[in-house]
């Protein structure tokens, strides 16, 4: 019974957090004179809800053929957004399990995206180039993650600060490469974009008609990555060591675990997940490097990863669910119009995401509210989402 209860509680917190986040969003909608129920219904539709509803036997919601077709486009857009979100969720979650706060998933993703592009562009055609480019992206992510891991393990540099700095370094490298006059910028184009990759090196895609909105190999790889995430953490010695260090580094050291090795590898593997996400954005989604995307959407994906890992409680299934949720929020917001102005919608999605992170971080809030009622009890220290406290001793 206790096990079931703790399961329910474990599910209950993220759900409560989500409700809080949606309430904050609702307040924002009400302030600008909209109806939050209508807005959230539109958000769900924009995420592709209609497409899912049509499969319910008997079609109780009466989804028309036209709505179902629009719904299909929206579902595709949600799946395209979910692909990197799952992977950056793994990137943040894996580091969390080692007691590390990886704010650098965005930078690791950007380095993966750049490296994949460079390899695919210069090695060129065919499956060989594609596979090489994918591996190179993962490797770049691994190295860009292992670097702050090593700085932490051997020099005591806090990973939060160093990954923030590395994010900006990655952005500047990207800007330099594809900015006007940069070495990878498309010649004589006047726009800060690289050339598009040859179709033969692009990842296969299997759903969707529009060139940059297709469900691609990355989604399958993301699921494989989630499985790998689970296997490493729960079924290997390395994963045991990583979790031991996350739980209590001192105890792990006394138990014979090499803490520096665990820290470097944990950050490296975390970076590899993000690097794979970057490969996917280059080889499966955009097919080119764009200055504004590198320094905007792609880096922001690192923060989405934080939200995903926190809401999903670093659990493989939780990460997948949370990634779909934020991806749906993202693609839903893009479709939103009418009830509130379209340009407000994206900001609304950002507000909800921020509020969710805030409330996950403040799980003590519920305890604090309910502690002030009833008999005064011994104050219990509530553990944060991870066993150790990432970011401690900054």
């Amino acid at each position: 019974v206790t096990a079931i209860r703790s399961r329910v509680v474990a599910m209950g917190y993220p759900l409560a957090t989500l409700v809080f986040g949606l309430l904050v969003g609702a307040v924002a909608v009400i302030i600008v004179g909209g109806n939050p129920v209508v807005v959230y219904k539109q958000l769900a539709d924009g995420a592709g809800m209609q497409w899912i509803l049509q499969w319910i036997p008997g079609n109780p919601f009466g989804v028309s053929v036209k709505d179902a077709r629009i719904g299909e486009t929206n579902v595709i857009s949600t799946l395209v957004s979910a692909t990197p979100a799952i992977l950056t969720g793994c990137a943040v979650g894996f580091a969390f399990r080692c007691g590390l706060f990886n704010i650098g998933a965005g930078g690791q993703l950007v380095m993966g995206a750049i490296t994949s592009f460079v390899v695919a562009h210069f090695v060129g055609g065919g499956v060989f180039g594609m596979v090489l480019a994918s591996i190179a992206g993962v490797l770049a992510g691994f190295l860009y993650g292992a670097l702050p891991g090593a700085l932490k393990a051997y020099r005591g540099a806090h990973e939060v600060i160093s990954t923030i700095m590395l994010n900006f370094i990655a952005i500047q490298i990207g800007r330099y490469l594809v900015g006007i006059g940069g070495p990878l910028q498309k010649k004589n184009s006047g726009t800060p974009f690289s050339e598009k990759l040859d179709p033969s090196v692009r990842w296969p895609h299997f759903w969707g008609e529009f060139e940059t909105a297709q469900v691609h190999l990355g989604l399958l790889l993301a699921f494989v990555a989630v499985f790998v995430y689970w296997v490493i953490l729960e079924r290997t010695t390395l994963g045991y060591e990583v979790r031991a260090v996350g739980f209590n580094p001192e105890a792990a050291r006394y138990g014979g675990v090499s803490v520096p090795r665990a820290v470097v590898l944990a950050m490296g593997i975390a970076g590899a997940f993000a690097g794979l996400a970057g490969s996917g954005e280059t080889l499966g989604h955009y097919y080119q490097l764009q200055e504004n995307t590198l320094s905007g959407v792609l880096v922001t994906l690192g923060f989405t990863g934080i939200a995903v890992a926190l809401l999903g409680r670093n659990h493989p299934i939780g990460i997948v669910l949370a990634a779909f949720l934020f991806a749906g929020l993202d693609s839903g917001a893009r479709q939103l119009s009418g009830e509130i102005p379209a340009e407000l919608a994206r900001a609304l999605a950002t507000i909800i995401q921020g509020a969710v992170i805030l409330f996950v971080g403040g799980e003590g809030l519920l305890h604090w509210i309910f502690r002030s009622r009833g008999p005064k009890k011994e104050r219990t220290v509530h553990p944060p989402p991870t066993a150790a406290t990432p970011g401690e001793g900054l």
């Binding site: 806090h158 939060v160 370094i169 921020g354 971080g361 799980e363 604090w368 509530h382 970011g391």
Partner: protein
């Protein structure tokens, strides 16, 4: 005169400065050898100083050497007229403009972190001040009220951070990340619904200070003759906060709370109150930094206007070793790098993007301790449980 490691490092910095001077007016050597030799000397002196234990100044010497060497190469290869376009009083004036928000945000970071609360939300607090101050200033047409509103917006954001990280004992990084994202969402949302595409409204800008006699001095007058009020306020605040932290009992209490909260609690210091005040103060300062961006130096707001400046301010805190004057020097250095990058871009058409990465690279180097390790307050980031 004894040769101390500090003097060696200072000599290195001077050599690096000469490297820059050798290729700019009025000396203007049209060769790449002189700046490279001087920068090389600066590197050697910097390394020697570091080997003898003077890490921080030695690190500065290395930083200066790389700036000197780079600009030497760039300038020597561009023609004279262009160089004269780049190195003007404007370069130094814009260095001060770039540095001001970094210093203000960084001072907030220093106060917050010295009290034991990590603040990676400077960016978000700055952005809140940036928008709300701007909006209030357009509505009231009074920069004073606008500035107060900016500080208030930063302060309120900080209060949320304080509540979650002090009272609830939550993770300070999570709370900081949340505030950064929330601030981006809230300011974009509010900007689009309150101002939107109705064009740039009239705003009452924070005034510039005209110094009557000094403004007539050639060069120097062009730099400091007509600076924005906030720039001077920034210098005053560096000094005031330095006095506060190092020369007053309140400053001592704040540092005690940041180094060893249990001990501070034992001698009767209210740890929670000190931390609340420190976090909120950091929000007020970050709000001022934001105000400078939108209606001090500039006169408009756009989405995500702070654009990472809060994180460079954080870098300045780390690079400046959690000290007010350290933050000032670091921010001036970073500001100079930005100003130089901009000048190169506009005057010479050089893709100077990589110059903008220098602050982050050097913060990493400082953090790693290759050149004198930065040391964070001992209890920074740890929630404190009262007993």
């Amino acid at each position: 005169v004894t040769v101390t490691p500090a003097r060696i490092a200072q000599a290195g910095i001077v050599a690096a400065g000469l490297a820059v001077l050798s290729v700019v007016p009025p000396i203007l050597l049209d060769t790449v050898i002189a700046p490279l030799v001087l920068a090389g000397i600066a590197v050697v002196l910097g390394i020697v100083a570091i080997r003898r234990g003077e890490g921080r100044l030695g690190g500065l010497a290395l930083f200066a050497a790389s700036v000197g060497g780079l600009s030497g190469i760039l300038f020597a290869n561009t023609d004279t007229a262009t160089v004269e376009n780049i190195v003007t009083a404007g370069l130094f004036a814009s260095t001060l403009r770039f540095a001001t928000p970094l210093v203000l945000g960084g001072l907030g970071g220093v106060i917050c972190e010295r009290s034991g609360v990590v603040n990676i939300a400077i960016e978000g607090m700055m952005l809140m001040g940036c928008f709300w101050g701007f909006w209030v200033s357009t509505e009231t047409l009074s920069w004073e009220i606008g500035l107060l509103a900016a500080m208030l917006a930063g302060g309120v954001s900080a209060l949320i951070h304080a509540f979650f990280s002090i009272h609830l004992g939550g993770n300070q990084i999570i709370s900081g990340t949340a505030i950064n994202i929330l601030a981006l969402g809230v300011t974009s949302f509010a900007y689009r619904s309150l101002i939107g595409s109705s064009g740039t409204p009239d705003v009452d800008r924070i005034p510039t200070v005209h110094l009557p006699l000094i403004a007539d001095i050639p060069f120097l007058g062009d730099i400091i003759g007509d600076l924005n009020l906030m720039v001077w306020l920034m210098f005053v605040l560096v000094f005031v906060i330095w006095i506060f932290l190092t020369r007053t009992p309140w400053g001592l209490r704040l540092r005690a709370v940041g180094e060893h909260p249990r001990a501070a609690d034992t001698v009767g210091i209210d740890v929670y109150r000190v931390r609340y005040l420190a976090v909120v103060t950091s929000g007020l300062l970050a709000g001022m930094a934001g105000a400078f961006l939108s209606f001090g130096f500039g006169s408009s707001f756009n989405e995500n206007m702070t654009n990472g400046r809060g994180f460079i301010a954080l870098a300045a805190v780390v690079f400046g070793n959690w000290r007010p004057f350290g933050v000032l020097w670091a921010a001036l250095l970073f500001g100079f790098a930005s100003a130089l990058g901009n000048a190169l871009q506009t005057a010479a058409g050089v893709n100077a993007t990589l110059v903008n990465a220098l602050p982050y690279v050097f913060t990493l180097v400082a953090l790693v301790g290759l050149v004198g390790r930065s040391r964070a307050p001992a209890a920074s980031g740890r929630p404190y449980q009262k007993q």
